[in-house]
């Protein structure tokens, strides 16, 4: 019997493809945001609001990740420059998008005519935390009905987030969600994170979120 030292990260295969995606995106000066949340927190609504608000200012494409259906792609179709729907149902991983899925989605996109790609990950707070896609920023949405304890229960996804959005602010009078406690938990895990409070229903706070995106896209374009 012989022992072979290996020390090799099992997720390396995904990370290699993610790096390749990132190089391709940087070559085309495309900024990419990976949007993650539990099912129903408002990923599609936020994407729709963002598309409407930034239409005419930025060319935005959307990659929709769902276990099944094209419901979300149909919703954003008319507003986006390009939409690719990924269904994870028959893939080895149905619970999260993976870098290889993004690599193949990018082949179907007019990369020279896009400034920003919004990726809607599969609704899940656990699995997407483990897989990088080649994105520039990771955004997590938490909505008021989910409760303020999610950063305590699912810390990893918050640890790596660049921005956290508190959505459905219009429901604040009706639910027991302690905004200060939530913000404390999030910034405790991740002091540099940006936190936005908004409502996709009333559009409150959307402008601030869209300004942040525009700034990020501009900074990324001038970086090179």
């Amino acid at each position: 019997m012989k022992k072979i030292e290996v020390i090799q990260n099992v997720l390396e295969a995904n990370e290699t493809i993610a790096n390749r995606n990132r190089q391709l995106l940087d070559k085309h000066k495309i900024f990419v945001i990976n949007i993650m949340s539990a099912p129903g927190a408002g990923k599609t609504s936020l994407i729709l609001q963002t598309l409407t608000r930034l239409k005419g200012k930025l060319n935005i494409a959307v990659i929709e990740g769902d276990v099944a259906s094209t419901v979300d792609a149909e919703k954003v179709q008319s507003e986006a420059k390009a939409v690719v729907q990924i269904n994870t149902l028959n893939m080895p991983e149905s619970c999260s998008l993976m870098a290889a899925m993004i690599e193949s989605a990018l082949k179907d996109m007019p990369l020279d005519n896009i400034d920003l790609i919004l990726i809607e990950n599969v609704g899940n707070l656990i699995c997407p935390a483990e897989f990088t896609l080649g994105e520039h920023k990771r955004v997590v949405i938490s909505s008021l009905p989910e409760g303020d304890d999610k950063p305590i229960k699912y810390p990893l996804i918050y640890v790596d987030a660049d921005a956290v959005i508190i959505n459905k602010m219009d429901l604040l009078p009706h639910v027991d969600f302690d905004i200060a406690a939530f913000r404390r938990s999030v910034t405790g895990l991740n002091p540099k994170v940006e936190v936005f409070q908004l409502s996709c229903k009333t559009s409150e706070g959307i402008e601030k979120w869209c300004s942040w995106i525009s700034e990020q896209v501009r900074a990324n374009a001038t970086r090179r």
């Binding site: 012989k2 990260n9 483990e130």
Partner: protein, 113 residues
């Protein structure tokens, strides 16, 4: 739920390394899995048994070394194991902490013949 792809990677790495060492059989794969990583050892073993069939890794034992979560207080730098889900520093009660250990998922070594 995402163990299948991860297990494919484990099988690929093991077969590559065993091939490089001109081994005839993989006896054991030693894996290090952090407590915070969302991977379930039983599930990895289940997929492994099926994916390694008819390869030199068939029948290999997967040994999982679990790494407990360790946090570092951003304020006083104390490294501690959290006692509950609140992640509060036991020394200064600060709740600003970073993950020091517990996210690992790697193959440490192989035992072959």
């Amino acid at each position: 739920m995402h163990e299948l792809g991860v297990t494919e990677n484990i099988v690929n790495i093991a077969l590559t390394k065993a091939g490089e060492a001109q081994a005839n059989k993989v006896i054991k794969i030693n894996l290090v899995v952090g407590e915070l990583s969302g991977f379930v050892p039983d599930c990895i073993q289940f997929y492994f048994d099926s994916l390694s069939k008819d390869t030199i890794a068939q029948g290999a034992v997967l040994h999982f070394e679990s790494v407990p979560t360790q946090l570092r207080c951003r304020d006083c730098s104390t490294i501690f194991q959290p006692q509950d889900t609140m992640w509060t520093c036991p020394k200064c009660a600060e709740r600003s902490v970073e993950i020091f250990k517990g996210r690992e998922l790697y193959i440490e070594s192989l035992e072959v013949e």
